[in-house]
Amino acid sequence: MSSTPTILEDVTGSEASLRRFLHGLPGVDQVGAEARAAGLATRSIKTTAKAYALDLAIRMVDLTTLEGQDTPGKVRALSAKAMRPDPSDPTCPATAAVCVYPDMVGIAKEALGTSGVHVAAVATAFPSGRAALDIKLADTRDAVEAGADEIDMVIDRGAFLAGRYQHVYDEIVAVREACRRPDGEDAHLKVIFETGELQTYDNVRRASWLAMMAGAHFIKTSTGKVQPAATLPVTLVMLQAVRDYRALTGQMVGVKPAGGIRTAKDAIKYLVMVNEVAGEEWLDPAWFRFGASTLLNDLLMQRTKMTTGRYSGPDYFTLD
């Protein structure tokens, strides 16, 4: 069962039609996209707008720990931080989710309880995606059964770069299927492109359309394990894709830049771009997320600066 809108059913029928469609997408003007992203990054956001942006950015954070050295204790600590990022200030909002490896989902779920903070799990042989399909699906089901609310999958970049679009498409559809829970609800599916490996903005645009047609709820830039990770121009291209996709099909898809966003200043640049490129409806944790860990501390420091009037320091916030 596919969730492709009827208007695009002809496209996803065969490898050839998929290729024809994706290669028929207008090319990205690289210089233009970079200049536009740089231009939007110069906007000055101050006072009440800044306070709003900081709180919004905190609500959009997928607080992430994806290390080989993750322990249950670390995941619990991270979950506590996600629920109450600034324990000294009850007006500080919670983050959107914590993002962990599948084996940590149960621990995160238990720690988060009914707080409303989601648990996102990376699956499908993250970060390389180099495994057989049934292993990827088992990985996904495992995370969903453990209670993950959101699944972050990686696409097969090798197949994508080799032009085997149907293969990538089918894989996303299959993972989406594996995200179903017995109660009929879906775990939300985020599709990671690893844009640092896709080489061109044209490829980013093609991957965005491919994933959206295959039923992604979110499209995500990177795993955070490859440099360059999220950049403003790449996110700009993806925001254009979700905007155009909604114009064509009426369906809204979210965007998640991840990796390399470390300062509140950067986060606000992204928010400006979301507003200007995709539109105001995307300025919501349901449609835009930041995959980050260190970003949260900087957001909290800026927030403290705004409420107390003095610059804060890293000594006053937990590590990670």
């Binding site: 009037g309 003095r310 610059y311 804060s312 320091g313 890293p314 000594d315 006053y316």
Partner: protein
């Protein structure tokens, strides 16, 4: 044919680089007779913030170096200053209105002071540390540790000797520093920054802001990531000094209080400028003696 003037607009020194002020403001620097000399960057609170971040980043590396190595680097600063002596003499003479020979003497004193402090790097622990006799079979040892990031408001009158006399004692023990230069006489500080940039001092250990202590000072005094502040630069302005001390109390900064008037920098500084920015770490060794 007359040569076209090379008009200078100096920049700040933050994290080993020379950025313009984030606010992009500059101000005119006049010599002692009121004649235009150059433009200097007017540091804003955001430059102070960036400088603190740079100083914090540099602290681990600088404080982790051996005292011997810090000593060598300070000596190297003195060497490079000696090489650029004529430039310093001109800057001091222009800013402070001294004759060339008097300015030369001031520059010599500044260089000598650096050499003097360089010698202290690996001797401080012996002088202010101790092996403490305690009532138990323990080996008990107190050693001095750097305080952390220190904000320094440099003296307003003595633009070079005063500057060196407040910066060197802070960094010799492993602290990193954000220094606000004299407002009306910033050019010796700018040249000093150029010396630091070319003399093995890691970026971020000394950050030089040119501008007003009254504007930038309160932000540094209230900054939660600054561990200590030296108020020498607001000597005589009791109202501002009090305001800064109150702001500094929020995170229990160490404060070196503003003197009633700027001291005579030619005098022997003693140990106080160094010990003001040290913490004492005491370790109990449960091995018996």
């Amino acid at each position: 044919m007359s040569r076209i003037d090379v008009r200078k607009t100096y920049k700040l020194y933050i994290g080993g680089a020379f950025p313009r002020s984030e606010s992009s403001y500059t101000y005119e620097v006049l010599d002692s007779k009121g004649k235009f000399v150059a433009n200097a960057a007017l540091a804003s609170r955001k430059d102070a913030r960036d400088a603190v971040v740079a100083a914090r980043k540099a602290f681990g590396g600088w404080s982790g170096r051996t005292a011997y190595n810090r000593s060598q680097i300070l000596y190297r600063v003195a060497e490079v200053m000696e090489d650029r002596r004529p430039q310093f003499v001109q800057a001091v003479s222009q800013s402070e209105g001294l004759t060339a020979s008097k300015a030369g003497a001031v520059v010599d004193q500044a260089i000598d002071r650096l050499v003097w402090y360089a010698g202290w790097a690996d001797k401080l622990a012996q002088v202010v540390g101790n092996a403490n006799p305690v009532a138990g079979p323990f080996f008990n040892l107190s050693t001095p540790e750097p305080t952390g990031v220190v904000a320094v408001l440099a003296p307003q009158d003595s633009s070079l000797l005063g500057l060196v006399s407040v910066v060197a004692p802070v960094i010799v023990s492993g602290n990193t520093v954000v220094v606000v230069s004299s407002y009306e006489r910033p050019l010796p500080a700018v040249t000093f920054a150029e010396v630091l940039a070319t003399s093995d001092v890691p970026g971020g250990v000394v950050n030089v802001l040119t501008g007003s202590a009254a504007t930038v000072g309160p932000w540094l005094a209230s900054h939660m990531d600054v561990n200590a502040i030296d108020l020498t630069g607001v000597a005589g302005d009791t109202e501002l000094a009090t305001e800064l001390e109150v702001a500094a109390a929020e995170n229990l900064k160490r404060v070196r209080r503003a003197p009633a008037a700027e001291p005579d920098w030619a005098l022997d500084p003693g140990l106080d400028p160094m010990t003001a920015f040290l913490e004492t770490k005491t370790v109990w060794h449960p091995i018996g003696v």
